[in-house]
Subunit: 131 residues, 3 copies
Amino acid sequence: MDEISVKTSFQTQFIDITSKVNEVLHKTGIMDGVCTVFTPHTTAGITINENADPDVPRDIIKETAKIVPLDAGYAHVEGNSAAHIKSSLFGCSETVIIMNGSLMLGTWQSVFFCEFDGPRNRKVWVKIIGG
Amino acid sequence: MDEISVKTSFQTQFIDITSKVNEVLHKTGIMDGVCTVFTPHTTAGITINENADPDVPRDIIKETAKIVPLDAGYAHVEGNSAAHIKSSLFGCSETVIIMNGSLMLGTWQSVFFCEFDGPRNRKVWVKIIGG
Amino acid sequence: MDEISVKTSFQTQFIDITSKVNEVLHKTGIMDGVCTVFTPHTTAGITINENADPDVPRDIIKETAKIVPLDAGYAHVEGNSAAHIKSSLFGCSETVIIMNGSLMLGTWQSVFFCEFDGPRNRKVWVKIIGG
């Protein structure tokens, strides 16, 4: 298992970690299998989406802030319940297939770390299983 | 890794691909392990839900169209931001356990390809890991 | 593959199953790999979030009941469409990395079974892949 460090600058922010996940993959030398990308935080997530147009992650962030409001009479005293809810809806991991030593992503797909309660220093764990 | 082709006919549509995933599994001859079903598109998804009553996928499609409106002042110029958002909320992959050469799904579970920006010709990738 | 039994007491309820998943892991003796936690129901889910403060799962349950209303003119005659929709949004599985014989969860992360249409007797399947 390898660890990637992510430093976020805003309360809500998507950071493209595809190249870092690829670095981990290439170090292992594994040619075929699956790659699990997992973040060990309860107010963050991992998602796969488009990064060619930065308006795509921006629209996702803006609209999900409407779906899960920052303030909605939550009970949790830390005041970050919206971030916990988004973490469960986006999920804290993604699994990507590996073929011929490459992450099999679509033309427009990037792997994003999703910060929902930043800015913070965060971690992402990557595990490659050959097969 | 194997590829499944999916042709969608509507803007939003769930297509049951369980039998196609099973075909891939049976070709490999793998008896125990896990199966990753992944779609390489950023305006589509993979989900597992009930297909016995077609009203279930219909209700999911109808209600999620209310949660993520088609038009909400999005910035992304292609006009399909709602599809990108749904892709991240449903997720672009599912993992299913394999036992005795079968996909371990519950009685009412089917694997669906979720079209959120059709109609289009789409791809789904299936990878089986034995273990 | 191992099966965990879960008995729920309410219509909507999150039950921490981390210790039960750990029991399955320790029985296998597998030291490194990934663990798939999968529920074979279409009105339930699996999520990873905080359990230190019980207000976190409570806020998630309460707010997602606003996002996906129990009654919204659904077509499905069983009357539990909201539960099916939540199942697809939360997802019916999670994958956790295993290192040195331990589930690699963050300090605040627990694995929850999510009941969306209880009370019922439910099942969770756990599969460990070494590698």
